[in-house]
C-alpha cells in the first residue's frame, strides 16, 4: 500500500489528521447513525417452498431454520448454543427501534500486502452485511442505555486486525465521553494473522482503552461466547467488571490442539469450556442465551446510580 516510501514526517502528518478528525466527531456529537440491523442471508424457506433445515453443531439433529432462529440458535433438542450472527444477537438484546450504529469507518488496510486479502474481506462484507468482525452501536437494554458491541465469528472468525481494534477502541472512547456503560459480546479466534504485528498491537490499544474507561468509572460488562481465544481473550475480553459466559463456550488463550501438542497428553473433558472457567474462578456467571437480555438489563440497573442512598 505504498507506505514503504513515506518519510517519517509524512507519516506523522497522517497521525495528526486522524487525531483531529476524531476530536471533531466527538464535539459534534454526531457519532451515531440510525441502523436497520438485518441479516443478509435470511431465507427461512427456499424458493420451492421446502423448509430449510439447520444441523445442530452438537447433537447433529436437523432443525427447521425458522424454529432455530426463533430460538436464538439454541438447539431445541439438546440446548446447545450454536453460533449466532452479530445482527441477530443485537436484535435479541436491545429494545426494538433503539439501536443506532456507531459511526467509525476504517478503510481496508493490508500492511503485509497479504495476497488476496482485500478480495476476501470484500466478499465477507457482502456476505455478512458487516463492515468488520464487530457490530457496535448504542441501544437500550430493558430501558437502560448502553454502548453495545457484538463480535461476529462469521467474519473471518472475528479475528482482530487494525479495523476491528480501532472500532473497539473508539467505542470505549465514545462511551467514556458520553458516560455510557459498555456491553460486549466476544467471539474471536484471536489476532488476525494477515495483518501481522499491527494486529498484535491492537491488543495493547484496546486494553489501554478499557483501562482508561475503567479508571474514569465506566461499567464494562462482557459476555464470552463461543469461541473466545488468542489475542482477543488476552486483551479486552477478559478485562470486564462483570464477566458472563454462554454455556459450553470455548474460552482460552492457546487453542486446545496447540496445548495437546505441547504437553503431549489428552486434555480433560470440558477443558476451556465456560463451565470449566467458572469453576476455576474466571467467570461471574454462565447465562443461557434466552436469559441474557434480562441478566444484562439487571446488571445495568444495579449500576445506574454512582452513589448509594437509602
Amino acid at each position: 500500500m505504498g507506505l514503504l516510501g513515506k518519510t517519517k514526517a509524512e507519516l506523522a502528518k497522517y497521525a495528526t489528521v486522524l487525531k483531529h478528525s476524531e476530536k471533531e466527531a466527538a464535539e459534534l456529537n454526531d457519532d451515531f447513525e440510525p441502523a436497520v440491523v438485518k441479516e443478509k442471508s435470511e431465507k427461512p424457506k427456499t424458493e420451492d417452498g421446502v423448509v430449510e433445515m439447520i444441523t445442530c453443531s452438537s447433537c447433529k439433529k436437523e432443525i427447521p431454520a425458522g424454529l432455530m432462529k426463533k430460538n436464538l440458535c439454541v438447539c431445541p433438542e439438546c440446548g446447545a448454543h450454536n453460533k449466532i450472527s452479530a445482527a441477530r444477537r443485537v436484535r435479541s438484546m436491545v429494545d426494538p427501534g433503539t439501536f443506532r450504529k456507531l459511526k467509525c469507518k476504517v478503510p481496508f488496510v493490508n500492511p503485509l500486502d497479504y495476497p488476496d486479502y482485500e478480495e476476501k474481506i470484500t466478499k465477507l462484507q457482502e456476505k455478512t452485511g458487516l463492515e468488520e468482525g464487530v457490530l457496535i452501536g448504542v441501544g437500550e437494554i430493558m430501558g437502560q442505555k448502553a454502548m453495545i458491541a457484538v463480535m461476529g465469528s462469521e467474519f473471518l472468525m472475528g479475528s482482530m486486525g487494525i479495523a476491528l481494534g480501532e472500532k473497539v477502541t473508539y467505542a470505549f472512547e465514545v462511551a467514556d465521553k458520553n458516560k455510557l456503560p459498555v456491553v460486549m459480546f466476544t467471539a474471536s479466534g484471536g489476532a488476525r494473522m494477515q495483518e501481522g504485528i499491527l494486529s498484535l498491537m491492537q491488543m495493547a490499544k484496546t486494553s489501554a482503552a478499557v483501562q482508561r474507561f475503567s479508571e474514569h468509572g465506566g461499567l464494562y460488562v462482557v459476555c464470552l461466547t463461543h469461541p473466545t481465544t488468542g489475542g482477543v481473550s488476552a486483551s479486552f475480553a477478559t478485562l470486564g467488571d462483570i464477566t458472563l459466559a454462554e454455556p459450553g463456550a470455548l474460552i482460552g488463550f492457546a487453542g486446545p490442539r496447540v496445548i495437546e501438542q505441547t504437553i503431549g497428553q489428552k486434555l480433560p473433558e470440558g477443558f476451556q469450556r465456560a463451565e470449566y472457567l467458572e469453576s476455576h474462578g474466571f467467570v461471574d456467571q454462565i447465562v443461557p442465551r434466552n436469559e441474557m437480555r434480562e441478566v444484562v438489563g439487571q446488571i445495568l440497573k444495579l449500576h445506574e446510580r454512582k452513589r448509594w442512598s437509602l
Binding site: A15, L112, L200, E215, G230, A237, T238
Partner: protein
C-alpha cells in the same frame, strides 16, 4: 544461510580456543591466524541477512540472556521472586537495580544457555504467575517512582494445561491494561525473539527498541504458517511475509529505534552492544525525566492508540484518490 555460517563460525571459535591453550607452538599460531581471517571472511557474508536468517540469529542460544544484560548494565541488582499469589515462575527474571545511581525496576523473559537451564526456565515461556510477578514488580516501581526497563525474549506465553486453568489470557490482558496507565517511564528492548501476546505482555512501553537482529511478531513464523496454510513447514515463507525484522517494525512505527549489532550477531562482541544500550537508556531516561507522571501515562497511551493512525489515514487517502 545463516545457519551454515553460524555452524562454521562456532567450529572456528572452538578450534581457536583449543589452539590458544597451547603456548609456544608456532604451528598453532599460524593456524589461529588462518582461522581468524577465515572468520572475518565468513562474518562479511553476514551483511545482508534475510528475515529467516534473523529469526535464526534471534533464537540463537549464544545470544546474551536477560541476566547478562542486567549484569552488564546495572549495579546492586536485587532479585525479586514470586507473584505473591501462588508461585515463582522462573521464566520471568527481574528485580530492583541501580542504573548510574538511579533506582530502576528491571525484568525480562529468561531463556537458558543450555538445555538444563532452558528446562528450568521453561524456555522463556511464562505462565500466568510470571506475568503476575512482572506486574507486581511494575506496580511497585510505580509506587516508588522507579523507571521500568524490560527485556523481551520469548517464543510466547506457555500453552499448557495449568497455564490455561490459572488464567493465562487474563494475566496477559491485565498486564497490557495496567502497563498502559503506569505513571513511570517504561522502556522495552526486544533482545531476541518477541512472539505474540506473551512478548507484548511486558512490552507496553513509552519507548520500544529492538536489537538489529531481533524479531517481533504476532506469532512465531511456524505458528503463522500453521494457522494460515495448515503447514508449519512453510515457516521460511512466513518469515518473508510477516515483516518481523527490526527494520520492518521501525518502518511501521511499531518501534522507536534499532540497536546495532556486530556482524554475525551480538554474540561476536556483546560489550559493544551493552555500551550502546547504556547510552541509549541514559538518553531515554533524561527525556522522560522532563515529563510529569500523568504525561508519561498519556504519552504511552497515545503511542499505542495512534501507532497505526498513519497507516489508516494513508489508506483513506488512497481510497479517495
Amino acid at each position: 544461510m545463516m545457519r551454515e555460517i553460524d555452524e562454521k563460525l562456532r567450529a572456528i571459535d572452538t578450534e581457536i580456543e583449543e589452539l590458544s591453550a597451547k603456548t609456544d607452538d608456532y604451528a598453532a599460531d599460524v593456524r589461529v591466524k588462518e582461522l581468524k581471517s577465515e572468520k572475518k571472511k565468513l562474518l562479511r557474508q553476514c551483511e545482508n541477512l534475510t528475515p529467516a536468517d534473523k529469526v535464526y540469529l534471534a533464537r540463537s542460544i549464544k545470544r546474551p540472556k536477560v541476566d547478562d544484560y542486567i549484569n552488564a548494565l546495572f549495579d546492586d541488582f536485587f532479585i525479586q521472586r514470586g507473584d505473591f499469589l501462588s508461585k515463582e515462575d522462573k521464566s520471568i527474571y527481574g528485580g530492583i537495580a541501580s542504573f548510574h545511581g538511579t533506582p530502576v525496576t528491571v525484568l525480562g523473559h529468561r531463556k537458558g544457555r543450555n538445555i538444563n537451564e532452558n528446562m528450568e526456565f521453561n524456555f522463556g515461556m511464562p505462565e500466568p504467575e510470571g506475568y503476575r510477578k512482572a506486574l507486581r514488580m511494575m506496580k511497585q516501581a510505580e509506587k516508588f517512582g522507579r523507571p521500568i526497563i524490560t527485556f523481551i525474549d520469548t517464543p510466547g506465553a506457555y500453552p499448557g494445561l495449568e497455564a490455561e486453568e490459572h488464567g493465562q489470557a487474563n494475566a496477559i490482558a491485565r498486564n497490557l491494561a495496567e502497563m498502559s496507565s503506569l505513571k513511570v517511564p517504561i522502556i522495552a528492548i526486544v533482545t531476541g525473539e518477541g512472539s505474540s501476546g506473551g512478548a507484548l505482555a511486558i512490552g507496553v512501553a513509552n519507548s520500544v527498541y529492538m536489537l538489529e537482529h531481533a524479531v517481533y511478531s504476532v506469532l512465531s513464523p511456524e505458528g503463522f504458517a500453521s494457522i494460515l496454510w495448515k503447514d508449519s513447514n512453510r515457516s521460511a515463507e512466513a518469515c518473508d511475509l510477516m515483516k518481523l525484522t527490526a527494520q520492518d517494525l521501525k518502518h511501521y512505527n511499531v518501534i522507536d529505534g534499532i540497536i546495532k549489532e556486530p556482524l554475525g550477531g551480538i554474540q561476536q562482541n556483546p560489550n559493544k552492544v551493552y555500551r550502546e544500550i547504556d547510552a541509549l537508556l541514559m538518553l531515554e531516561l533524561a527525556k522522560y525525566k522532563k515529563m510529569s507522571p500523568n504525561e508519561l501515562a498519556k504519552n504511552r497511551y497515545d503511542k499505542f492508540r495512534y501507532m497505526d493512525a498513519a497507516i489508516i489515514e494513508a489508506a483513506k487517502k488512497e481510497n479517495q484518490a
